[in-house]
Symmetry: C2
Subunit: 694 residues, 2 copies
């Protein structure tokens, strides 16, 4: 892929001298920054902007290894052929008129791709804004040349499925804020080069410390996951199309399919990816993570707040309470140090309100003492400093403060108020020293939270996908998996999941009143009886489930009635009626983007009210299974609610591992749904299950 | 209070010629903007900055009706005496050293207040930054005189319990953004003039269209509520100290008491107050509400999104889905109009992606057609327009677009990206035409949501507190309310709430096996039996509750055992065992700030897991009671979950009205707790209750 990022020479097909056109902007941008060969191609010109222009790509001289194409779509297949003849290895197609514009465009896109594949040419785009590299000063894009006025080199790179993000947004970010950028890759319809390949490239790129992605579709979710889960560099993702209508818009926008939100979210957590929610917020989080990619503090986010405004301190404390962070409890040493700069009457607390200390001791002593003491405090993992600049008697020694925190290895963030010019200078100075500066109280808290969320993820993620352990299934079950199709009824479904390791309820398929009675007596009254018919998944609604059958006579009568209802093909099931302190559910789905995924959630009545489920890609390691359980919101219910035994997490984790292995090993298993998975004295037991085979 | 806002002349006590001191900044600020008499007072000078300086306030010439004090606290009592002698009517004490600095400061504050009350002088502060009035160009504050460089007049006023908000924050807001301001009142320790009085003043102020408050304590919550509930001007509140640690910080900051969050939140909703969460966000919401204080659209927030970036459209749709807004479904007329500017292949949807339309028809026709059609669309209540400026071929006709939307009476908001200078100009132009401009996708959605949240609140709020309807209680119950004290046991508690109108379970206090049996037979088996002892509220834990007693023999045995457990003083209760499809709870608390408040929430096992409760100030109108029920998150459970009957909201609302009237009419009722309030075939019935009398 180096020919896209460091080409020797570029043929610009569709160059023009008309200043309002994209083909002109691309040329201007190339001329401004690119030091290699620049060869405009357009039969209507002999030169543009003093550069010789060629009638066709065949005539372009050496060196040339990359082409940028900005011509109507229908001309592109022939151009790809031309480029192949000329020995060009990569083509960035920035013009539109392909898959995004309906069926004929999609067909054209397919045709272009065929031609390129035939010649071994790589394609970037189409319908994209190409590449901006602020570190090397390269703009391979029709973005307005005003971008050069404020191109700020930095170490955050972006991969974006949106032209806006690589154009207007960049210009905005860099003129309003102090947001350095490394490479911005606009991938458009990503017909060949996609986010996975670019992400791998950027994770190897020495100019990149963190990567932000804006994606509306993740067609190869599993590959993206596997790249991210071993990445030492932070990856932040903003997904477009999370809501039903957002997803509809995404589908019509770039012909994308937004997958099941809960599946994607689960897989991203598993891979250590931080999710963002808005464009600027993504950049702010990337900035923080690029500065603090690998935090090694003792705790997971105990924050000391140093403020010059009691009100801002209070609001910060409120925000910290909302996140995964917590306010640090200051040590006795810290309290003693703070007392030395505080007035007598003032109690020491966190947030540390430094105004009175500054009034008594001056800025340097007050802030310096406070920062040194919290940096030395083993109970503090991060420092949130409020700063005012411009027109206030609060000139912070940025160099001293940032050095102290960096030396202590404690992430620090500034919230800054002040006159615009002064604020910009403060921001530049602090960020050059590796400490991010934010302008809303909440945003700084959110970014510190992301830093520690990543720390927690790094401790728990598996750097490589676990091996699939193929369950040793009895011959009869293997047979079933090979020969059956569609929705299996409950009894057969449980035979499969039971064979894979999941504890299932004591039950028997019975074919006579006598065998029904025998089973009921063996399990103990009361029992449950069910009538099973292939394909019938709504047994309760169909009146095929009898609970609390308390006598042998009732068993006989239930058997007869059920038999009548389901006919000779159906199966009558007698089941122990399990006591349960909690209803869970568990399962496996085969996601089109992320492959087999395991699910665990609250079941029964809780399912419908709490909607508390979590997914992870299978196979699962034991640790991943425990993390998956830990991601449910209803931890209080799992921990033994109202005197109930807590859920045995080891056993439950094993159930999830088993389900994952079953799904990963047997590709015909499309879906498994265990609902309810009852918790009886802490132990899970599958009471009903459905397996769907392809 | 006019002498604070429009004084004829100001004595500045503590004026100084030292430029780094507050007493100098105040003088500079007065000289810059105030046209009345300015009289520095300080025995050490005869003049400062060319203005005659007086040795004491006695010598200050006419006209003078206000004093600003910036001297050490201990000197203040004598100064108040001096001011009284000189005929001064209001004193703004900006210096600190009072209640915020511990016990001796609190005593000093009390002393100052006594002196002022004696002379009928009003006090503003202490420990505050006074007043900034950007419309009239008045700065009665030691805020840095750099504030003048960017003082932008506007129609949003602030009342803030934080110096930062009236100083650094203002300077920041006005230099970075285009945030016009009217009056900013910094109230500090608010020992005399408080937020209620100032709010009343500002709601009458012709220069103020919306008010933002930052408060760390709301000592007279009921009064604040009553002012807000009749206000035609929007009020936005940012509360500091919502989290436990935030509240602790708030208490030490301005000696404030942060009340119960759920009570405050409920009362604010009832009064039509919008809550903000961060400082800039509060300003952004105020700005939107000042522009759209009284929306009259048909719907409550159906938004059309006009975008120039598919990605931004998708992310906007995701955000809209998270709020109380929804994406509008476009009418056939709108679709036809849009098709006229769209390329053939492009389907019409909302968000409306205008890029291809702009490419075909130019900016004015594309945006103009789109905006005109959604403005005429009866299914659209608001328009969210994405704009890029500076370096893009997208020069929107701001005047035409904003006029169209304003004429249609549909709130409109811009999200804007672009080079800083261009962006600022765009923002100024659009905002001068009454349309707010935001720079984060989410913030614009949040502000439009606030506009429609206010619309919904205006339709449902009571403009005046309802009258208390004193419940007609039987003599025995009135007697109980007058003579008893403390925690009443269940039976007596239910006699009280039952008399007030709450349906209670069929039950009888029994004194013999015979009467117990008689009651049980009357109610029908199974019954519940309980042993009641005064002061014992944890009956279940104490083994004093027997459920499911199914026979007369069991009644007899339960009676004997309970009698033994509770002794001769206790009461044995026989109760019908109610079936229930849902457990709620309801009650009344007497909040120190908001007075009697009614609570309703999910009860039983749901209470502990969902934590779903809502409060409102009593007495309640029927409409307010229905709104209160509507504020519970678990509407699915109330609407008839899993085939259960839906909760009869009319009857439940009446229970809440009755509880409110009981609390409002009988001040000795400190607390009422009905838990569970069972729902049986949709109807509420109180099964257990505790009343606490003072």
């Amino acid at each position: 892929m180096d020919f896209f990022f460091h080409p020797k020479g570029i043929a610009l097909i569709g160059a023009t001298a008309t200043p309002t056109k994209g083909g002109y902007a691309i040329l201007k941008n190339l001329l401004t920054g690119f030091k290699g060969g620049i060869y405009p191609v357009n039969p209507r010109y002999t030169e543009i902007e003093g550069v010789p222009c060629y009638p066709s790509v065949d005539q372009v001289p050496d060196p040339v290894d990359m082409a940028i194409v900005f011509v109507p779509g229908r001309l592109v297949p022939a151009i790809v052929e031309d480029c192949a003849r000329r020995g060009i290895r990569g083509i960035m197609i920035e013009s539109g008129g392909f898959a995004e514009s309906g069926e004929s465009g999609l067909a054209l896109q397919e045709e272009v791709l065929q031609v390129a594949r035939k010649h071994g040419i790589r394609l970037w785009g189409p319908n994209c804004m190409g590449l901006v590299d602020a570190v090397r000063g390269l703009v391979f894009s029709f973005v307005a040349p005003t971008i050069w006025e404020n191109l700020i080199p930095g170490n955050v790179s972006l991969i974006v499925q949106s032209g806006m993000l690589s154009g207007a947004f960049l210009i905005d970010s860099m003129t309003h804020g102090v947001m350095g950028i490394s490479k911005v890759c606009s991938i458009g319809n990503k017909m060949d080069v996609n986010e996975c390949e670019l992400l791998e490239y950027l994770l190897d790129d020495p100019d990149t410390a963190a990567v932000g992605l804006y994606l509306e579709s993740i067609p190869d979710g599993r590959r993206l996951m596997d790249i991210c889960r071993q990445s030492p560099k932070p990856v932040v993702l903003l997904r477009g199309g999370k809501s039903p209508r957002g997803a509809a818009a995404a589908m019509s926008h770039t012909a994308s399919l937004a997958g099941n939100g809960a599946v994607i979210r689960g897989c991203l957590v598993q891979a250590g990816v931080i999710e963002a929610k808005d464009f600027k917020q993504m950049m702010d989080i990337c900035r923080a993570l690029a500065m603090y990619p690998d935090v090694r503090t003792a705790g997971d986010g105990r924050v000391a707040v140093l403020t010059y405004s009691g009100g801002a301190g209070i609001v910060s404390a409120d925000f910290i309470h909302e996140t995964g962070l917590e306010l640090a409890t200051l040590s006795d040493d810290t309290r003693t140090a703070l007392k030395s700069v505080f007035p007598e009457w003032m109690p020491v607390s966190n947030p540390v309100d430094l105004w009175p200390a500054v009034e008594r001791n001056g800025v340097d002593r007050a802030y310096g003492t406070a920062l040194a003491s919290v940096c030395a405090d083993p109970g503090v993992d991060a420092v949130y400093v409020h700063a005012f600049t411009g027109g206030f008697a609060l000139n912070l020694d940025i160099d001293a403060l940032t050095s102290e925190a960096r030396a202590a290895g404690k992430p620090m963030a500034f919230w800054l108020l002040g006159r615009q010019e002064d604020a910009r200078q403060f921001q530049e100075e602090a960020q050059a020293r590796g400490v991010p500066v934010y302008r809303e109280v909440y945003r700084a808290v959110e970014c510190l939270d992301a830093v520690f969320e990543r720390k927690r993820m790094l401790t728990s993620r598996e750097p490589a996908p676990p091996e699939t352990v193929t369950p040793a299934l009895p011959e009869a079950v293997r047979q079933m998996l090979e020969t059956e199709r569609g929705v299996l009824e409950e009894y057969r479904s449980k035979q499969i999941v039971g064979a894979a390791g999941v504890p299932i309820v004591a039950e028997a398929a019975v074919d006579s009143v006598a065998s029904a009675r025998e089973a009921a007596e063996r399990f103990g009254f009361p029992v449950v009886m069910k009538g099973l018919v292939a394909g019938q998944v709504h047994k309760t609604e169909a009146g095929l489930v009898r609970l609390g059958i308390g006598t042998a006579a009732a068993v006989a009568s239930a058997f007869e009635t059920l038999r009548q209802q389901i006919g000779p093909e159906g199966t009558v099931l007698v089941q122990r009626q399990e006591k349960a302190e909690l209803e869970l559910m568990a399962g496996m789905v085969r996601d089109p983007q992320f492959g087999p995924c395991v699910m665990v959630g609250l079941g029964g009545v809780w399912a419908e009210v709490l909607d508390d489920v979590a997914f992870a890609a299978a196979p699962l390691s034991r640790r991943e299974a425990l993390n998956l359980i830990g991601r449910l919101r209803s931890q209080r219910l799992l921990n033994g609610f109202r005197g109930a035994a807590p859920v045995d997490r080891d056993v439950l984790a094993q159930v999830l591992v088993d389900l994952g292995n079953l799904g990963a090993a047997y590709s015909r298993v499309q879906e498994i749904d265990i609902n309810p998975l009852l918790i009886n004295e802490g132990k899970p037991v599958a009471v009903d299950a459905t397996v769907i085979l392809s």
